[in-house]
């Protein structure tokens, strides 16, 4: 049984490699399809994050004068918001779209013979492309306003990977389940709203009462978001030892997800 699983896992990896052209083609297509027929084309992909960062920093911090306790930077609150919000939207984009991957591609799945595992991977990559653009705009903004990013920004890479693998693990499982019970997709939408407010993204964790802080520890995103904010605001490297449980959790989620996906994989096509 165990052996068989790893054999299956290996064969899926191989299939992904063989269909890499298809995967990259789909990612490229999705990116381009969004801006086809517009005059400015992919410039829009940059204009959206610029507008967002402008609102958070200039309007929130400068005009509405929102201040962050303990930070004397006048744009501090805006930057604090971006540090948490950008990765969160990366996470919620992937997790929010995952439940529908197999349903959206029903026709391709029913009529074509290529590996099903490519669809979540396409989603993973295409949300990454979006995030990289948005985050680059954010970095440029920091540079332009004279806040030179510290080397600790490199820590974003492993932390974001951890975060996205968590989304992926949950997403594949929910995507497979949603084929059978469409309630799953609806449910995820609600959970994501609660999850957003249960993560210290737009409020500092310090304003919470003690019991709420204890509760937030069970949210795997809490520690991640806190680390992002530390990096962006103070250039502090994250405390890696705090992430041991996260890594274990993400690996377990991914494994469970693959087992579920493998079990349901054959039935997905029959159900669509």
């Amino acid at each position: 049984m165990k052996n068989e699983f790893w054999k299956w896992f290996g064969s899926r990896l191989f299939a992904l490699w063989r269909y890499r052209g298809f995967v990259f083609g789909m990612v490229w297509r999705e990116f381009h399809a969004r801006y086809l027929g517009s005059l400015l084309g992919s410039a829009w992909s940059v204009l959206h994050p610029i507008a967002m960062i402008f609102i958070y920093t200039v309007i929130f911090s400068k005009i509405m004068r929102a201040r962050l306790p303990g930070v004397d930077d006048n744009m501090g609150f805006g930057i604090f918001l971006c540090a948490g919000l950008l990765p969160w939207s990366f996470f919620s984009e992937l997790l929010g779209r995952c439940p529908n991957i197999f349903i959206e591609q029903a026709n391709l799945l029913k009529k074509g013979n290529f590996p099903r595992i490519t669809f979540p991977v396409v989603l993973f990559l295409s949300s990454t492309v979006n995030f990289v653009i948005i985050f680059t705009v954010f970095l440029l903004f920091l540079l332009v306003t004279g806040r030179y990013p510290d080397w600790s920004f490199l820590a974003f890479v492993p932390l974001l990977l951890l975060q996205q693998f968590l989304a992926m693990g949950l997403g594949i499982m929910l995507g497979a389940l949603n084929v059978f019970f469409r309630d799953v997709g609806q449910f995820v939408g609600i959970v994501l709203q609660f999850w957003f407010w249960f993560t210290p993204i737009i409020y500092p964790v310090t304003i919470l009462p003690q019991f709420a802080r204890e509760l937030l520890k069970f949210n795997p995103l809490t520690q991640l978001v806190l680390s992002y904010q530390q990096i962006v605001l103070f250039g502090n490297w994250p405390q890696w030892s705090l992430f041991k449980a996260h890594i274990l959790f993400v690996i377990t989620t991914l494994l469970i997800s693959f087992v579920v996906f493998r079990r349901l994989s054959a039935e997905i096509v029959d159900e669509l």
């Binding site: 052209g21 399809a33 391709l108 074509g112 013979n113 054959a266 096509v269």
Partner: protein, 412 residues
Amino acid sequence: MKNILETKNLSKKYKRYPNQWSRFAEWLTAGRYRTHEERWALRGVSFEVDAGEAVGIIGQNGAGKSTLLKILTRTTKPSKGNIKIGGRVSALLELGMGFHPDFTGRENAIMACRMAGLNREQIEQLLPAIASFSELGDYLDQPMRVYSTGMQMRLAFSASTVVRPEILILDEVLAVGDAYFSHKCVNRIRTFKEQGTTLLFVSHDPGSVKALCDRAILIDKGILIRDGSPDAVLDYYNAMISVKRKNEEIQQVESEFGATVTRSGDGRAYFENVEMLDENDRPARAFRVGDTASIRCDVISNASLESPTVGILIRDRLGNDVFGTNSFHLEVDKEIYKAGENIEATFTLPLNIGCGNYSLCVAIHSGDTHLQDNYDWWDQCLAFQVIPGNSFSFIGLASLPVELKVQRKHKK
């Protein structure tokens, strides 16, 4: 030759739940609470295909053909039995799958190749071949949304058959585009076959199965019921469907044509039944060119009628009149029928008409046309098909008796 494809006892079960909650209950109890019905789409299908063989798979809608194809292309797994495939399978289950209307033909063709698992260099090399076969010219770099359906099909077919597969699975995709291009498609498939491609061809159309396949398999209600030469299997298929159609004539005709069937008249006489028979007086719906067919009309008169006129009209699939006549023109003896009497009128005629689908219209009225007293007029009362016969090939609607003399002409 050695088997390239072998299926053993293939069965496919679909679960049907009364509602979502009962599925949920079954999942929660790990299957102990069981409410689903099992529907077997395929039951114990076993067959072998030699390398290079062309096999037609025929059967009515819902017989299990698509399920079989999905298993052969490995889109879905069989519930029981196993399958061995010894080569690269290319399946054309749907032309233009995954095409995006906003991308150019070229971009979509590249994507189609990627979907088939080809890599970048291979695609690079194959693009010129796709462009030339599809004959799209400048349109290749236009967005797909400006394409006509025929053009989309041309591109789709060109892209999906650019590499010769070892096993090609076709699902009724040949009836696409104009006559010129569909001829080109058939030629390409023939060439593949000559080069050793194994062909599995699913169709409702007996004509193309006969033209392309060396063997046919008939599936009905998920069971393989005939496996043999296309001629024999198609004959069996014909007999099978005519028996089925006898009792549900009108519905069948409606669904085949997708049009509303007109039936009008004052009811002083009406058709109780209309049947088309082959030379052995068996009900039939497919005939070879030149076969003699009988059209038997059972009429019941509701009033006393003096020699009512019974007429038939054969139309092609576009609704053009091909041939029609009636008992007035054929000058049958005058007769007076009393109310409640049954009349049987049988027209026997050789079907010297071209291959294709036809519909039959029958009418009963007084005088030479139905314009005066129309008792019953039944449009498209049944549909039949004419398939290639054993004589020479021809095109067009009429099979005219032809004689040809070729000789050397001496100069004087």
